[in-house]
Protein backbone atom coordinates (compact mmCIF):
# COMPACT_ATOMS: atom_id res chain seq x y z
CA UNK A 1 0.00 0.00 0.00
CA UNK A 2 1.25 3.49 -0.77
CA UNK A 3 -0.12 7.02 -0.85
CA UNK A 4 -0.79 6.95 -4.59
CA UNK A 5 -2.84 3.78 -4.39
CA UNK A 6 -4.81 5.10 -1.44
CA UNK A 7 -5.60 8.28 -3.39
CA UNK A 8 -7.05 6.06 -6.13
CA UNK A 9 -9.21 4.30 -3.52
CA UNK A 10 -10.46 7.64 -2.20
CA UNK A 11 -11.22 8.82 -5.73
CA UNK A 12 -13.11 5.59 -6.51
CA UNK A 13 -15.04 5.80 -3.24
CA UNK A 14 -16.12 9.37 -3.99
CA UNK A 15 -17.15 8.39 -7.51
CA UNK A 16 -19.13 5.43 -6.15
CA UNK A 17 -20.80 7.71 -3.61
CA UNK A 18 -21.83 10.10 -6.39
CA UNK A 19 -22.97 7.36 -8.76
CA UNK A 20 -25.14 5.69 -6.10
CA UNK A 21 -26.60 8.95 -4.85
CA UNK A 22 -29.80 7.51 -3.36
CA UNK A 23 -27.77 4.94 -1.39
CA UNK A 24 -25.43 7.66 -0.15
CA UNK A 25 -28.36 9.83 0.96
CA UNK A 26 -29.96 6.88 2.77
CA UNK A 27 -26.70 5.96 4.52
CA UNK A 28 -26.18 9.55 5.69
CA UNK A 29 -29.81 9.84 6.74
CA UNK A 30 -29.75 6.57 8.69
CA UNK A 31 -26.59 7.68 10.48
CA UNK A 32 -28.18 10.97 11.51
CA UNK A 33 -31.35 9.16 12.66
CA UNK A 34 -29.31 6.71 14.73
CA UNK A 35 -27.43 9.56 16.37
CA UNK A 36 -30.70 11.42 17.06
CA UNK A 37 -32.26 8.33 18.67
CA UNK A 38 -29.26 8.00 20.99
CA UNK A 39 -29.62 11.66 21.96
CA UNK A 40 -33.40 11.36 22.51
CA UNK A 41 -32.83 8.33 24.74
CA UNK A 42 -30.35 10.39 26.75
CA UNK A 43 -32.94 13.16 27.14
CA UNK A 44 -35.47 10.64 28.48
CA UNK A 45 -32.96 9.17 30.94
CA UNK A 46 -32.13 12.63 32.30
CA UNK A 47 -35.78 13.64 32.61
CA UNK A 48 -35.82 11.89 35.97
CA UNK A 49 -32.44 12.77 37.35
CA UNK A 50 -29.85 15.53 36.92
CA UNK A 51 -27.00 13.08 37.33
CA UNK A 52 -26.74 9.33 36.89
CA UNK A 53 -24.20 8.04 39.41
CA UNK A 54 -22.15 11.22 39.05
CA UNK A 55 -22.51 11.52 35.27
CA UNK A 56 -24.13 14.80 34.29
CA UNK A 57 -26.31 15.32 31.22
CA UNK A 58 -23.32 16.98 29.51
CA UNK A 59 -21.05 14.03 30.28
CA UNK A 60 -23.64 11.63 28.90
CA UNK A 61 -24.12 13.55 25.66
CA UNK A 62 -20.36 13.91 25.37
CA UNK A 63 -20.12 10.10 25.61
CA UNK A 64 -22.77 9.65 22.89
CA UNK A 65 -20.95 12.11 20.61
CA UNK A 66 -17.57 10.52 21.31
CA UNK A 67 -18.82 7.02 20.56
CA UNK A 68 -20.39 8.32 17.35
CA UNK A 69 -17.13 10.02 16.35
CA UNK A 70 -15.16 6.80 16.93
CA UNK A 71 -17.70 4.58 15.16
CA UNK A 72 -18.19 6.97 12.25
CA UNK A 73 -14.42 7.16 11.72
CA UNK A 74 -14.30 3.37 11.72
CA UNK A 75 -17.21 3.23 9.29
CA UNK A 76 -15.69 5.76 6.90
CA UNK A 77 -12.38 3.90 6.76
CA UNK A 78 -13.07 0.21 7.24
CA UNK A 79 -16.71 -0.87 7.36
CA UNK A 80 -17.01 -1.60 3.62
CA UNK A 81 -14.22 -4.15 3.87
CA UNK A 82 -15.64 -5.78 6.99
CA UNK A 83 -19.11 -6.01 5.52
CA UNK A 84 -17.79 -8.01 2.55
CA UNK A 85 -14.86 -9.97 3.98
CA UNK A 86 -16.87 -12.87 5.39
CA UNK A 87 -18.72 -13.47 2.11
CA UNK A 88 -15.56 -13.01 0.08
CA UNK A 89 -13.75 -15.63 2.14
CA UNK A 90 -16.60 -18.13 1.90
CA UNK A 91 -17.19 -17.53 -1.81
CA UNK A 92 -13.48 -17.52 -2.68
CA UNK A 93 -13.43 -13.94 -3.93
CA UNK A 94 -10.13 -12.98 -2.27
CA UNK A 95 -8.14 -14.24 -5.26
CA UNK A 96 -8.47 -10.85 -6.93
CA UNK A 97 -6.69 -9.28 -3.96
CA UNK A 98 -3.84 -11.79 -3.87
CA UNK A 99 -2.84 -11.37 -7.50
CA UNK A 100 -1.95 -7.73 -6.83
CA UNK A 101 1.59 -6.81 -5.72
CA UNK A 102 0.46 -5.13 -2.48
CA UNK A 103 0.03 -6.23 1.14
CA UNK A 104 -3.30 -8.05 1.03
CA UNK A 105 -4.28 -7.13 4.60
CA UNK A 106 -4.11 -3.38 4.11
CA UNK A 107 -5.29 -3.52 0.54
CA UNK A 108 -8.47 -5.28 1.60
CA UNK A 109 -8.99 -3.18 4.74
CA UNK A 110 -8.62 0.15 2.94
CA UNK A 111 -9.84 -0.47 -0.59
CA UNK A 112 -13.12 1.35 -0.11
CA UNK A 113 -14.15 4.33 2.05
CA UNK A 114 -17.72 4.81 3.15
CA UNK A 115 -18.06 8.48 2.30
CA UNK A 116 -21.71 8.98 3.46
CA UNK A 117 -20.72 8.03 7.03
CA UNK A 118 -18.56 11.16 7.04
CA UNK A 119 -21.77 13.24 7.34
CA UNK A 120 -22.50 11.62 10.69
CA UNK A 121 -18.89 12.10 11.72
CA UNK A 122 -19.03 15.83 10.99
CA UNK A 123 -22.32 16.25 12.91
CA UNK A 124 -20.98 14.36 15.94
CA UNK A 125 -17.76 16.43 15.90
CA UNK A 126 -19.70 19.72 15.73
CA UNK A 127 -21.99 18.78 18.65
CA UNK A 128 -19.02 17.53 20.67
CA UNK A 129 -17.20 20.82 20.03
CA UNK A 130 -20.25 22.72 21.31
CA UNK A 131 -20.37 20.52 24.44
CA UNK A 132 -16.65 21.00 25.06
CA UNK A 133 -16.90 24.76 24.55
CA UNK A 134 -19.70 24.95 27.15
CA UNK A 135 -17.76 22.88 29.69
CA UNK A 136 -14.75 23.80 31.76
CA UNK A 137 -12.37 21.12 30.60
CA UNK A 138 -8.61 21.78 30.81
CA UNK A 139 -6.94 22.45 27.47
CA UNK A 140 -4.44 19.63 28.06
CA UNK A 141 -7.31 17.18 28.58
CA UNK A 142 -8.91 18.29 25.32
CA UNK A 143 -5.61 17.73 23.48
CA UNK A 144 -5.25 14.28 25.07
CA UNK A 145 -8.86 13.52 24.07
CA UNK A 146 -8.18 14.41 20.43
CA UNK A 147 -5.00 12.30 20.41
CA UNK A 148 -6.78 9.33 21.98
CA UNK A 149 -9.70 9.14 19.49
CA UNK A 150 -7.68 7.54 16.62
CA UNK A 151 -6.40 4.88 19.03
CA UNK A 152 -9.98 4.09 20.07
CA UNK A 153 -10.95 3.86 16.39
CA UNK A 154 -8.01 1.51 15.78
CA UNK A 155 -9.21 -0.67 18.65
CA UNK A 156 -12.69 -0.91 17.08
CA UNK A 157 -11.14 -1.80 13.73
CA UNK A 158 -8.84 -4.50 15.14
CA UNK A 159 -11.56 -6.17 17.22
CA UNK A 160 -13.95 -6.24 14.26
CA UNK A 161 -11.19 -7.48 11.97
CA UNK A 162 -10.37 -10.30 14.37
CA UNK A 163 -14.00 -11.38 14.54
CA UNK A 164 -14.62 -11.21 10.82
CA UNK A 165 -11.52 -13.34 10.17
CA UNK A 166 -13.20 -16.26 11.94
CA UNK A 167 -14.84 -16.84 8.55
CA UNK A 168 -11.55 -18.45 7.45
CA UNK A 169 -12.39 -21.31 9.81
CA UNK A 170 -16.13 -21.20 10.40
CA UNK A 171 -18.85 -20.88 7.80
CA UNK A 172 -21.59 -19.14 9.72
CA UNK A 173 -20.14 -16.29 11.76
CA UNK A 174 -22.85 -13.62 11.40
CA UNK A 175 -23.69 -13.59 15.08
CA UNK A 176 -20.07 -13.75 16.16
CA UNK A 177 -19.51 -10.52 14.26
CA UNK A 178 -22.24 -9.01 16.40
CA UNK A 179 -20.13 -9.51 19.56
CA UNK A 180 -17.91 -6.42 19.14
CA UNK A 181 -20.98 -4.43 18.08
CA UNK A 182 -22.81 -5.43 21.26
CA UNK A 183 -19.80 -4.75 23.50
CA UNK A 184 -19.33 -1.35 21.88
CA UNK A 185 -23.03 -0.68 22.33
CA UNK A 186 -22.76 -1.58 26.03
CA UNK A 187 -19.74 0.74 26.30
CA UNK A 188 -21.71 3.70 24.98
CA UNK A 189 -23.33 3.96 28.41
CA UNK A 190 -21.42 5.36 31.43
CA UNK A 191 -19.36 2.50 32.80
CA UNK A 192 -20.31 3.41 36.39
CA UNK A 193 -23.77 1.88 35.86
CA UNK A 194 -22.27 -1.62 35.60
CA UNK A 195 -21.25 -3.93 38.45
CA UNK A 196 -17.55 -3.94 39.34
CA UNK A 197 -16.94 -7.34 37.75
CA UNK A 198 -18.14 -6.08 34.34
CA UNK A 199 -16.18 -2.83 34.73
CA UNK A 200 -13.05 -4.85 35.51
CA UNK A 201 -13.60 -7.20 32.56
CA UNK A 202 -14.30 -4.45 30.03
CA UNK A 203 -11.42 -2.31 31.28
CA UNK A 204 -8.59 -4.72 31.99
CA UNK A 205 -9.40 -7.87 29.98
CA UNK A 206 -11.12 -6.49 26.88
CA UNK A 207 -10.74 -2.71 27.22
CA UNK A 208 -13.96 -1.64 25.48
CA UNK A 209 -14.71 0.80 28.30
CA UNK A 210 -11.28 2.40 27.92
CA UNK A 211 -11.87 2.77 24.16
CA UNK A 212 -15.37 4.30 24.35
CA UNK A 213 -15.77 5.72 27.89
CA UNK A 214 -12.05 6.50 28.09
CA UNK A 215 -12.03 9.68 25.96
CA UNK A 216 -14.76 11.26 28.12
CA UNK A 217 -12.89 10.20 31.27
CA UNK A 218 -9.81 11.90 29.78
CA UNK A 219 -11.83 15.09 29.25
CA UNK A 220 -13.00 14.94 32.85
CA UNK A 221 -9.45 14.20 34.00
CA UNK A 222 -10.57 10.96 35.64
CA UNK A 223 -8.58 8.34 33.79
CA UNK A 224 -5.49 6.71 35.27
CA UNK A 225 -2.17 6.57 33.42
CA UNK A 226 -1.97 2.83 34.12
CA UNK A 227 -5.26 2.28 32.28
CA UNK A 228 -4.03 4.28 29.28
CA UNK A 229 -0.69 2.47 29.17
CA UNK A 230 -2.48 -0.89 29.40
CA UNK A 231 -4.76 0.13 26.54
CA UNK A 232 -1.81 1.02 24.30
CA UNK A 233 -0.06 -2.27 25.15
CA UNK A 234 -3.31 -4.11 24.41
CA UNK A 235 -3.55 -2.36 21.04
CA UNK A 236 0.01 -3.34 20.09
CA UNK A 237 -0.54 -6.98 21.10
CA UNK A 238 -3.91 -7.06 19.34
CA UNK A 239 -2.32 -5.68 16.13
CA UNK A 240 0.27 -8.46 16.20
CA UNK A 241 -2.42 -11.11 16.83
CA UNK A 242 -4.61 -9.77 14.03
CA UNK A 243 -1.64 -9.85 11.62
CA UNK A 244 -0.82 -13.44 12.62
CA UNK A 245 -4.44 -14.59 12.31
CA UNK A 246 -4.67 -13.02 8.85
CA UNK A 247 -1.56 -14.97 7.73
CA UNK A 248 -2.91 -18.21 9.21
CA UNK A 249 -6.29 -17.53 7.63
CA UNK A 250 -4.71 -17.05 4.22
CA UNK A 251 -2.95 -20.39 4.60
CA UNK A 252 -6.35 -21.96 5.29
CA UNK A 253 -8.14 -20.06 2.52
CA UNK A 254 -9.16 -22.12 -0.49
CA UNK A 255 -10.25 -20.07 -3.49
CA UNK A 256 -12.33 -22.95 -4.83
CA UNK A 257 -14.80 -22.66 -1.94
Amino acid sequence: MNKRLYKVFISQSIQECLVYRSTSIFVALFGIMFFSIEMITGIIYYEYSDTILGWTRNDYFSLICTSNIILSMYQVLFVSAHENLSDDIIEGNLDYVFVRPVKSFWYYALYRLDIPSAVNLVIAIIIQMVIISKSNYYRINIIEYVIFIPFAMMFVFLVNQLMVMFSFWKEKTNKLMGVPESLIDASTRPKVIYPNSIIFFLTWVLPFFTAINGPVEILKGNISVVELVWFIIFLVVLSIIVGMVWKRGLAKYASAN
Binding site: T23, V27, Y48, I52, L53, V79, V179, S182, D185, I193
Partner: protein, 260 residues
Protein backbone atom coordinates in the same frame (compact mmCIF):
# COMPACT_ATOMS: atom_id res chain seq x y z
CA UNK B 1 -47.82 -25.81 0.86
CA UNK B 2 -45.49 -28.78 0.98
CA UNK B 3 -42.62 -26.77 -0.57
CA UNK B 4 -42.92 -24.09 2.09
CA UNK B 5 -42.90 -26.72 4.83
CA UNK B 6 -39.67 -28.08 3.36
CA UNK B 7 -38.11 -24.60 3.49
CA UNK B 8 -39.31 -24.23 7.07
CA UNK B 9 -37.87 -27.62 7.98
CA UNK B 10 -34.51 -26.81 6.37
CA UNK B 11 -34.31 -23.62 8.41
CA UNK B 12 -35.08 -25.47 11.64
CA UNK B 13 -32.31 -27.98 10.77
CA UNK B 14 -29.94 -25.10 10.08
CA UNK B 15 -30.73 -23.60 13.50
CA UNK B 16 -29.99 -26.92 15.17
CA UNK B 17 -26.76 -27.47 13.20
CA UNK B 18 -25.33 -24.01 13.91
CA UNK B 19 -25.85 -24.21 17.67
CA UNK B 20 -22.89 -21.95 18.36
CA UNK B 21 -24.48 -19.18 16.31
CA UNK B 22 -27.75 -19.57 18.24
CA UNK B 23 -25.93 -19.48 21.60
CA UNK B 24 -24.00 -16.32 20.64
CA UNK B 25 -27.28 -14.72 19.52
CA UNK B 26 -28.86 -15.40 22.91
CA UNK B 27 -25.78 -14.20 24.81
CA UNK B 28 -25.83 -10.92 22.86
CA UNK B 29 -29.50 -10.46 23.68
CA UNK B 30 -28.80 -10.98 27.40
CA UNK B 31 -26.04 -8.38 27.18
CA UNK B 32 -28.39 -5.87 25.54
CA UNK B 33 -31.04 -6.46 28.21
CA UNK B 34 -28.50 -6.08 31.02
CA UNK B 35 -27.29 -2.74 29.66
CA UNK B 36 -30.81 -1.29 29.78
CA UNK B 37 -31.51 -2.84 33.18
CA UNK B 38 -28.30 -1.39 34.64
CA UNK B 39 -29.01 2.09 33.35
CA UNK B 40 -32.50 2.09 34.85
CA UNK B 41 -31.13 0.73 38.10
CA UNK B 42 -28.64 3.63 38.12
CA UNK B 43 -31.44 6.13 37.41
CA UNK B 44 -33.51 4.80 40.33
CA UNK B 45 -30.47 4.89 42.63
CA UNK B 46 -29.66 8.47 41.57
CA UNK B 47 -33.31 9.52 41.89
CA UNK B 48 -34.85 10.29 45.26
CA UNK B 49 -38.30 9.11 44.17
CA UNK B 50 -39.44 5.50 44.35
CA UNK B 51 -41.63 5.79 41.29
CA UNK B 52 -40.92 6.97 37.75
CA UNK B 53 -44.24 7.50 36.03
CA UNK B 54 -46.37 4.57 37.19
CA UNK B 55 -43.36 2.32 37.53
CA UNK B 56 -41.77 1.21 40.76
CA UNK B 57 -38.20 -0.09 40.46
CA UNK B 58 -39.36 -3.73 40.30
CA UNK B 59 -42.08 -2.94 37.75
CA UNK B 60 -39.59 -1.09 35.58
CA UNK B 61 -37.05 -3.93 35.61
CA UNK B 62 -39.81 -6.45 34.87
CA UNK B 63 -41.01 -4.27 31.99
CA UNK B 64 -37.51 -3.81 30.52
CA UNK B 65 -36.74 -7.53 30.71
CA UNK B 66 -40.06 -8.62 29.15
CA UNK B 67 -39.97 -5.99 26.40
CA UNK B 68 -36.42 -6.92 25.48
CA UNK B 69 -36.96 -10.68 25.68
CA UNK B 70 -39.80 -10.28 23.16
CA UNK B 71 -37.27 -8.87 20.71
CA UNK B 72 -35.75 -12.36 20.44
CA UNK B 73 -38.65 -13.40 18.23
CA UNK B 74 -38.73 -10.18 16.22
CA UNK B 75 -35.75 -10.07 13.90
CA UNK B 76 -34.77 -7.86 10.97
CA UNK B 77 -32.88 -10.61 9.15
CA UNK B 78 -35.35 -10.86 6.19
CA UNK B 79 -34.58 -7.20 5.39
CA UNK B 80 -30.98 -7.99 4.58
CA UNK B 81 -31.54 -11.31 2.83
CA UNK B 82 -33.62 -9.77 0.04
CA UNK B 83 -31.02 -6.99 -0.36
CA UNK B 84 -28.22 -9.57 -0.67
CA UNK B 85 -30.22 -11.59 -3.22
CA UNK B 86 -30.91 -8.47 -5.28
CA UNK B 87 -27.33 -7.21 -5.24
CA UNK B 88 -25.83 -10.58 -6.10
CA UNK B 89 -28.39 -11.23 -8.82
CA UNK B 90 -29.35 -14.46 -7.07
CA UNK B 91 -32.93 -13.28 -6.75
CA UNK B 92 -33.38 -14.51 -10.33
CA UNK B 93 -33.01 -18.10 -9.13
CA UNK B 94 -35.85 -17.58 -6.67
CA UNK B 95 -38.03 -15.82 -9.23
CA UNK B 96 -37.67 -18.73 -11.63
CA UNK B 97 -39.00 -21.18 -9.06
CA UNK B 98 -42.75 -21.82 -8.73
CA UNK B 99 -42.90 -20.19 -5.32
CA UNK B 100 -44.21 -16.92 -3.93
CA UNK B 101 -41.37 -14.69 -2.66
CA UNK B 102 -43.30 -13.57 0.40
CA UNK B 103 -44.39 -17.06 1.45
CA UNK B 104 -40.90 -18.43 0.88
CA UNK B 105 -39.51 -15.64 3.04
CA UNK B 106 -42.13 -16.30 5.73
CA UNK B 107 -41.32 -20.03 5.76
CA UNK B 108 -37.63 -19.18 6.22
CA UNK B 109 -38.43 -16.62 8.90
CA UNK B 110 -40.70 -19.03 10.78
CA UNK B 111 -38.11 -21.78 10.47
CA UNK B 112 -35.35 -19.57 11.83
CA UNK B 113 -37.53 -18.36 14.70
CA UNK B 114 -39.67 -21.38 15.52
CA UNK B 115 -37.62 -22.44 18.55
CA UNK B 116 -37.70 -18.94 20.03
CA UNK B 117 -41.39 -18.49 19.20
CA UNK B 118 -42.31 -21.81 20.82
CA UNK B 119 -40.35 -21.05 23.99
CA UNK B 120 -41.76 -17.52 24.07
CA UNK B 121 -45.36 -18.75 23.61
CA UNK B 122 -44.97 -21.23 26.47
CA UNK B 123 -43.41 -18.57 28.71
CA UNK B 124 -46.13 -16.07 27.79
CA UNK B 125 -48.83 -18.63 28.55
CA UNK B 126 -47.42 -19.43 31.99
CA UNK B 127 -46.66 -15.79 32.75
CA UNK B 128 -50.23 -14.68 32.06
CA UNK B 129 -51.66 -17.69 33.90
CA UNK B 130 -49.47 -17.01 36.95
CA UNK B 131 -51.01 -13.56 37.26
CA UNK B 132 -54.46 -15.07 37.56
CA UNK B 133 -55.83 -13.97 34.20
CA UNK B 134 -59.00 -15.71 32.97
CA UNK B 135 -58.94 -18.11 30.05
CA UNK B 136 -60.47 -15.55 27.69
CA UNK B 137 -57.62 -13.13 28.44
CA UNK B 138 -55.07 -15.88 27.75
CA UNK B 139 -56.80 -16.69 24.45
CA UNK B 140 -56.93 -13.05 23.34
CA UNK B 141 -53.33 -12.48 24.38
CA UNK B 142 -52.08 -15.45 22.36
CA UNK B 143 -54.09 -14.35 19.32
CA UNK B 144 -52.62 -10.88 19.69
CA UNK B 145 -49.11 -12.31 19.96
CA UNK B 146 -49.53 -14.31 16.74
CA UNK B 147 -50.98 -11.31 14.91
CA UNK B 148 -48.14 -9.13 16.15
CA UNK B 149 -45.64 -11.69 14.87
CA UNK B 150 -47.30 -11.70 11.45
CA UNK B 151 -47.47 -7.91 11.36
CA UNK B 152 -43.80 -7.60 12.24
CA UNK B 153 -42.90 -9.99 9.45
CA UNK B 154 -44.92 -7.91 6.98
CA UNK B 155 -43.23 -4.77 8.28
CA UNK B 156 -39.71 -6.14 7.74
CA UNK B 157 -40.78 -7.47 4.33
CA UNK B 158 -41.84 -3.98 3.30
CA UNK B 159 -38.54 -2.57 4.59
CA UNK B 160 -36.59 -5.28 2.74
CA UNK B 161 -37.84 -4.01 -0.64
CA UNK B 162 -35.65 -0.93 -0.14
CA UNK B 163 -32.88 -3.25 -1.38
CA UNK B 164 -34.13 -2.65 -4.93
CA UNK B 165 -33.18 1.01 -4.63
CA UNK B 166 -30.09 1.12 -2.43
CA UNK B 167 -26.79 -0.70 -2.77
CA UNK B 168 -25.56 -0.79 0.82
CA UNK B 169 -27.92 -2.49 3.25
CA UNK B 170 -25.64 -2.52 6.32
CA UNK B 171 -26.57 0.99 7.59
CA UNK B 172 -30.16 -0.24 7.89
CA UNK B 173 -29.16 -2.74 10.59
CA UNK B 174 -28.20 -0.23 13.24
CA UNK B 175 -30.94 2.24 12.42
CA UNK B 176 -33.69 -0.41 12.47
CA UNK B 177 -32.41 -1.73 15.77
CA UNK B 178 -32.28 1.79 17.19
CA UNK B 179 -35.79 2.63 15.97
CA UNK B 180 -37.10 -0.63 17.40
CA UNK B 181 -35.38 0.01 20.75
CA UNK B 182 -36.75 3.54 20.95
CA UNK B 183 -40.21 3.29 19.36
CA UNK B 184 -40.84 -0.23 20.64
CA UNK B 185 -40.35 0.93 24.20
CA UNK B 186 -37.36 -1.32 24.82
CA UNK B 187 -35.20 1.49 26.22
CA UNK B 188 -38.01 2.87 28.37
CA UNK B 189 -41.80 2.39 28.67
CA UNK B 190 -43.49 4.55 26.04
CA UNK B 191 -46.10 5.78 28.52
CA UNK B 192 -43.36 7.86 30.16
CA UNK B 193 -43.56 10.12 27.10
CA UNK B 194 -46.03 13.05 27.03
CA UNK B 195 -49.53 11.76 26.25
CA UNK B 196 -49.85 13.14 22.68
CA UNK B 197 -46.58 11.44 21.64
CA UNK B 198 -47.61 8.26 23.41
CA UNK B 199 -51.00 8.16 21.68
CA UNK B 200 -49.36 8.40 18.26
CA UNK B 201 -46.46 6.03 18.97
CA UNK B 202 -48.56 3.34 20.64
CA UNK B 203 -50.33 2.38 17.41
CA UNK B 204 -47.13 1.97 15.36
CA UNK B 205 -45.87 -1.54 14.52
CA UNK B 206 -42.77 -1.26 16.71
CA UNK B 207 -44.78 -0.15 19.74
CA UNK B 208 -47.29 -2.96 19.18
CA UNK B 209 -44.60 -5.68 19.25
CA UNK B 210 -42.74 -4.00 22.12
CA UNK B 211 -44.61 -1.81 24.55
CA UNK B 212 -48.17 -3.04 23.94
CA UNK B 213 -47.19 -6.71 23.95
CA UNK B 214 -45.34 -6.24 27.25
CA UNK B 215 -48.38 -4.53 28.78
CA UNK B 216 -50.52 -7.47 27.67
CA UNK B 217 -48.10 -10.03 29.10
CA UNK B 218 -47.94 -8.26 32.44
CA UNK B 219 -51.77 -8.28 32.60
CA UNK B 220 -51.94 -4.49 32.97
CA UNK B 221 -54.76 -4.21 30.44
CA UNK B 222 -58.38 -5.30 29.88
CA UNK B 223 -59.72 -7.72 27.27
CA UNK B 224 -61.16 -4.82 25.27
CA UNK B 225 -57.68 -3.25 25.08
CA UNK B 226 -56.28 -6.46 23.56
CA UNK B 227 -59.18 -6.69 21.09
CA UNK B 228 -58.62 -3.06 20.11
CA UNK B 229 -54.96 -3.78 19.39
CA UNK B 230 -55.83 -7.02 17.56
CA UNK B 231 -57.92 -4.88 15.24
CA UNK B 232 -55.15 -2.30 14.77
CA UNK B 233 -52.64 -5.07 14.12
CA UNK B 234 -54.95 -6.63 11.52
CA UNK B 235 -55.29 -3.27 9.78
CA UNK B 236 -51.51 -2.96 9.73
CA UNK B 237 -51.13 -6.46 8.25
CA UNK B 238 -53.54 -5.69 5.39
CA UNK B 239 -51.98 -2.27 4.78
CA UNK B 240 -48.40 -3.60 4.83
CA UNK B 241 -49.32 -6.52 2.56
CA UNK B 242 -50.76 -4.03 0.06
CA UNK B 243 -47.66 -1.79 0.26
CA UNK B 244 -45.35 -4.81 -0.05
CA UNK B 245 -47.00 -5.90 -3.29
CA UNK B 246 -46.76 -2.41 -4.77
CA UNK B 247 -43.09 -2.01 -3.81
CA UNK B 248 -42.19 -5.52 -4.96
CA UNK B 249 -43.75 -5.05 -8.36
CA UNK B 250 -42.01 -1.64 -8.76
CA UNK B 251 -38.73 -3.11 -7.52
CA UNK B 252 -38.90 -6.07 -9.89
CA UNK B 253 -39.31 -3.68 -12.82
CA UNK B 254 -36.07 -2.00 -11.70
CA UNK B 255 -34.27 -5.29 -11.02
CA UNK B 256 -31.73 -6.21 -13.71
CA UNK B 257 -30.83 -9.69 -12.50
CA UNK B 258 -27.13 -9.15 -13.11
CA UNK B 259 -25.86 -8.36 -9.64
CA UNK B 260 -23.14 -5.78 -9.08
Amino acid sequence: MNKYLRILYSQISSQLIYKFDTCVKLALKVMQILTTVFIWKAIYISNEYNYIGEYSYNNMIMYIILANVASVIFSFEPCFRLGTLIHSGKLTTLLLRPIHLLYESFARYMGSKILEVTVYLILAFFMINAQGADILYVFFALIFLLLAFLMFFMCVSVISTIGFWIIQMWPLRSILTAIYLLMGGLYFPLDLLPKPYYMVLSVTPFAIVGHVLTKVLTCQVENTFILYYCLITLIWIVFLYYIYNILLSKGLKKYEGMGN
